[in-house]
Symmetry: C2
Subunit: 213 residues, 2 copies
């Protein structure tokens, strides 16, 4: 992105008050609308500028590319933290997590955004980084419930909590992106159950020794 050197991608810190923040909010909102209504393929910065009632130049100056805009959208979303519920059992906690993911990936607005981000992340490094940061945060938020299951001796003590959380999400994203099967609550519950089964069998232990043999 040679844009980064030519312009300031982010207004940085010099004068981020009032108007700048307003413009950013309007543009992100408009981008979200376009994504939800017409999808990633029609996401054109000039069009976003028009909808946001903002100068085309401004959008190109501050974001420059579709990938940057989409990455910023994700960063914005990452700030809204979702509270984690506690049910007292690993299966209960992971099911809650799986259903949360499933609801997210079923909501038309959100699914459009996530598909766009994931697509952009396959070819744009900056977007890929933003995506990983986002999921790092999410995974860290949920990892404690696996630790609690370890403390309750539900699962082996050297289980990697983050790996278990990721195991819950994986089949759901697989459905969304690859197989295209319906993402219903049953799928979510199955994902959670599978993660629990794996954890109990010692699949997600930190050392190389895999259980289940």
């Amino acid at each position: 992105m040679e844009l980064e050197t030519r312009y300031e991608a982010e207004p940085g810190s010099v004068r981020p008050g009032g108007r700048t923040a307003r413009v950013r909010a309007a543009v992100l909102r408009a981008a979200e609308d376009v994504l939800a209504e017409q999808g990633f393929a029609h996401l054109d910065l000039a069009d976003v500028a028009r909808r946001a009632a903002v100068g085309k130049t401004t959008v190109y100056r501050r974001w420059g590319t579709v990938a940057n805009l989409v990455a910023d959208l994700l960063a914005d979303m990452a700030e809204q933290s979702v509270p984690r519920t506690e049910t007292g059992s690993l299966l209960g906690d992971l099911t809650a997590n799986a259903r949360l993911v499933q609801r997210t990936l079923t909501d038309p607005r959100q699914v459009a955004l996530f598909k766009a981000v994931i697509a952009a992340a396959t070819w744009d490094t900056r977007t890929a980084q933003a995506l990983r940061r986002f999921y790092d945060i999410r995974v860290n938020e949920w990892a404690p419930c696996v630790q609690q299951a370890i403390d309750r001796t539900e699962i082996p003590p050297d289980t990697d909590p983050r790996e278990v959380i990721r195991a819950v999400s994986a089949p759901l994203y697989y459905r969304l992106l690859i197989s295209g099967e319906v993402l219903d609550q049953a799928a979510a519950d199955r994902a959670a159950a599978a993660a629990v089964a794996g954890a109990r069998a010692g699949v997600y232990r930190r050392d190389g020794d895999r259980g289940s043999a």
Copy 2:
């Protein structure tokens, strides 16, 4: 794609011999090269035509869009069937499958192609269909090894074989597309072990009753 009505996307069946086949092969090969070298973002049909030493018009006439080209590339690849090994145990078979997927998603040329296809599939319906056909074929090829495990009473009789196979792939694709963690053989083995653990626990049974409680 109103192109479909204006041109013939596929030459169909009238005269597919010699030259037409040669052109198709050259274009697909060139597209693969561009993907591997410069990635999806730089995949320009005119450039592909130049590399393939083929008229730009021909490429636009027969494929029309980047998504179509990429979908055709995948369809071409789907025809090369990979032989399935049989090890005598479910874990052995699924590990072989997982390692095959892992090798595919590690090979630079193939990974570029798969990322491009998956990205295109998030916004192009035809590509999404091609993608699902591809994995339908692959899943069907491997499902029998799960059926054999059922016959050996390794896992519950009402296990859905296709769901087990998909469970093996899901974490690997998750790493590739989302978390960005390294896709090594250990990850593949873990994916296989997790699928076995889930299958044994009855997670992938056809009815609604999930095991593992």
